[in-house]
């Protein structure tokens, strides 16, 4: 079980919820950036 030695199940869940929040934000920002790139016409050399 990956719950740390000095960690309760409640603390572990809190950590997992926090990590989820941060990762989802990061993924959403990346998707947003990708959409922006798709919508921006590329320069023709």
């Amino acid at each position: 079980m990956p719950i740390g030695k000095d960690e309760t199940k409640e603390q572990y869940y809190k950590r997992m919820v926090a990590d989820l929040g941060m990762m989802m934000k990061l993924v959403e920002k990346d998707e947003k950036k990708e959409k922006k790139n798709e919508a921006t016409p590329r320069k023709v050399e």
């Binding site: 079980m1 990956p2 199940k9 409640e10 603390q11 869940y13 809190k14 950590r15 997992m16 919820v17 926090a18 990590d19 989820l20 929040g21 941060m22 990762m23 989802m24 934000k25 990061l26 993924v27 920002k29 990346d30 947003k32 950036k33 990708e34 959409k35 922006k36 790139n37 919508a39």
Partner: protein, 203 residues
Amino acid sequence: MKKLMEGWNKFLTEVENEHNKEEVMFNSLSALGVFALEEGDESKSSQAIAAISAGEWDKDPVSFYSSLTCEGQEEETCVNKHPEMTTPYSVTELGKMDLFKVPDMNIGFALKEKDGSFQEIVSVHNNETGVGGVGKMLMEAAISSGGCFLDHFDVGQLSGLYSSMGFEEYGEERLPFDPQYVSDEFSEKYGESDIIFRKHQNC
């Protein structure tokens, strides 16, 4: 009959115009959503990508804590809309980890000690306003810095991302969803997700 047809055509034109208006409005709002935050910030994204590629990291726990929480920072540079979902770590706890923060930006990750070495990936974040497209690079940097393990709720986007990057489920079972530790809002948004334990295929 002619009057009836004229009335019907008028009705169709009105419906079409209304539909077009709604469509234009929807498209405009979507476009605003995509561009608003990132307007003019291409250079910031490039700067972040360059620093990650070059392996330039700020290792200071105080700076890392501020990057995670946005405490003491202006909203123009750091946005944290959900402080309750940010970090359970104190500066002291962060000081016991190997920290990787992009210098002068609120972007980074940490490696937590597991079985005697820094190999558990935690607190991957990007709170820097206007910067996107760094997630995969951060994860790659975490792997090349020794990150082998991570746990996460079984949410489609994350499961897909981690699998695609070579993280495989390990252990005999997942940790079943336990509603007593999450809010109702969480359950509504993410469902009753189990926790998955993953190990990178190269570890």
